[in-house]
Amino acid sequence: MSKEILQAALHKQGAFGNDIDLSQYDNSDIAHVQSEADISEAGKAQMEHVGIELDGENRSASFIQVDNAVLEPKVKAQTPLELMNTGVAAQKYPELVEKYWWKAVAPDMDKYTATTALEKENGYFIRVKAGEKINYPLQACVFLSHEDQLQRVHNVVIVEDGAELNIISGCASDPAVDKAIHLGISEMYIGKNAKLTFTMIHSWGENISVRPRSATIIDAGGQFISNYVCMEKAKDVQMNPVTRLVGEGAVARMNSILVAPKGSHLDIGGKVILEVPGTRAEIVARTICTGGEIVNRGTLIGKAEDVRAHLECNGLMLADEGYISAIPQLDAYTGNAEMSHEAAVGRIAPEEIEYLMARGLDEDEATATIVRGFLNVNIEGLPDSLAKKISETLDTFSYNKGM
């Protein structure tokens, strides 16, 4: 795509979400951190909080990008996967650039993609060759360490035919950073009968804006399981990842757990396009408002015969301020598409609280138990330690009891 088109796109607002003036941020590539050792203890704690194990023992490979600098990626010996900076991979594999770079996400989609496409490329390139199954999860961390930083990330993930990979993507910021912005483009390609589990956990600072732009293309018999968890205050996160099922029997399942405390604005969606017969999709979102703002979009587009898809946008209001806006959308382009949705937003039913109180729980315990149940979606592919961490967060996250 020509530079002129991209430059013109620098003024293009996103389809959803608040418009952000990127000129207020520092778009430099200065490496404020040279190695893991330079990351503050509080920053390391944040990284662990989003599922990143710094010793990397139970991980097949580790990738860390701090601001716009990529630390040396680590891959365990004998692990049949490639992991490198996307910019490095582009030099090494021009033929892959032709095939995969900016093919799932249009670089002129909006100012955020254009800004990322115009500058030096950072991010992770991951490739698992055909038939290889990676036992331990790969962990990728994008981290903000510098005030006013504009972070650009371009990720390319290729899981070839019959291969399997589990990615844990933890995104966080140093508690010392107040204001910053993260732009993250992820393009993921899942081959025939391949499987990718992708779990993203966000824990950003209170004044940080986040604009991920992700797209996944799944070939015949491929499976994509995407989990997204955001339970901490984040000023402004907007994303609407797109998944295209382009081969027969391809399956996508997307779970999200969103908690918006006061001061958070989360505009989170998910769109799955079922392009060929025999494809299936499920989007399950559980949102909780404890005073912040949540827009929860979900879109299923059935373009072929014999597709099946289901969408759930369920929200719980635990405060008298803030809002949840659940926007499920179903588009069918054939008579034989079976698509359904369930959307419900409300408070906890008093009968449920009373029921648990009759069994001996006080009101707070009863409320917490119901909330836990509400968030108890079947998140597959999490290592035990991470599942435990999420569970602990669910146990302890503070909710406003403005019942």
């Binding site: 039913a349 009968e351 449920e352 009373e354 029921y355 648990l356 109180m357 009759a358 069994r359 001996g360 729980l361 006080d362 009101e363 009863a366 138990t369 119901i370 836990r372 149940g373 509400f374 968030l375 108890n376 979606v377």
Partner: protein, 267 residues
């Protein structure tokens, strides 16, 4: 165990119960008869302490303690257990977790679920998609785990088929006698129950019950000692023989029974 003194209760500002007096001693099981809408559920709901039942006057004592103002969960912790007539579904909270909340150990969870024929339901959301009989069994299972000293049952037979009534009845009986060791379970024959056949009839029962019933089927399984008719917001025929009163209601209806028969059948 339970003493209710001069209790008047309103729901949404409308008075439902007037000056109720009731005493249930340890080991006694009382039955509450009465036409629909006379306040039977209100009475046991007020004993459990649900917020929608507004106490206008009177006192409720449990084990000698004034619980009139105590919240529902404190009453549960003190030993009052209630079978909810239409329990809500709590999505994502499994039956196993629910029984654990009620106080069951992991071993008890498995054992009790097996007795109640709910082993396959343990990892489903509590009450989600349960049939009428399954709901009652789920309630009894929770109460079994809770081990209350005062068992409150609100129409345990409603919506339940014959086979399940037997199971529900025997489970209730087990809860009332559960200091005794239950037998092994599987293959236990009819007449006796898989978990109360070894209940020791000589052991002095210390637990009490208050049961609302329309048809009285539950009485085949749970021997009740006293009966009352709740009619137009007041208790009548206090302490009568349950089967006599049930027979009288069956023959002549509540009104006649209350107006004429009470004195005769009270003996």
């Amino acid at each position: 165990m339970l003493r209710i003194e001069n209790l008047s209760v309103a729901v949404k500002g409308k008075q439902i119960l007037k000056n109720i007096n009731l005493h249930i001693a340890p080991g006694e099981v009382h039955v509450l008869f009465g036409p629909n809408g006379t306040g039977k559920s209100t009475l046991i709901g007020a004993v459990m302490g649900f917020e929608r039942y507004e106490i206008l006057e009177g006192k409720i004592y449990f084990k000698g303690q004034d619980i009139t103002e105590a919240p529902c969960y404190e009453r549960a912790r003190l030993g009052i257990g209630m079978m909810i007539q239409r329990p809500p579904t709590i999505r994502g909270l499994t039956l196993r977790q629910m029984i654990t909340i009620c106080g069951a150990t992991p071993e008890e969870v498995e054992k009790m679920a097996q007795w109640m024929g709910l082993s396959d339901f343990l990892d489903r959301s509590v009450n989600e998609g349960f049939s009428g009989g399954e709901l009652k069994r789920s309630e009894l299972l929770q109460l079994m785990a809770q081990k209350p000293d005062l068992l409150l049952l609100d129409e345990p037979e409603s919506g339940v088929d014959v086979e399940n009534i037997a199971l529900v009845g025997r489970a209730a009986n087990y809860i009332l006698h559960n200091d005794s060791t239950p037998c092994s379970g599987a293959g236990c024959d009819k007449g006796c129950c898989s978990f109360n056949c070894s209940a020791n009839p000589l052991a002095a029962p210390q637990k009490s019950g208050l049961i609302i019933t329309h048809l009285g089927h539950i009485l085949k399984y749970v021997p009740a000692s006293h009966a009352h008719i709740l009619y137009q917001g007041s208790l009548t025929c206090p302490g009568g023989d349950p089967l006599d009163i049930l027979g009288c209601i069956g023959q002549s209806g509540y009104e006649t029974c209350v107006n004429k028969g009470c004195r005769r059948i009270r003996k």
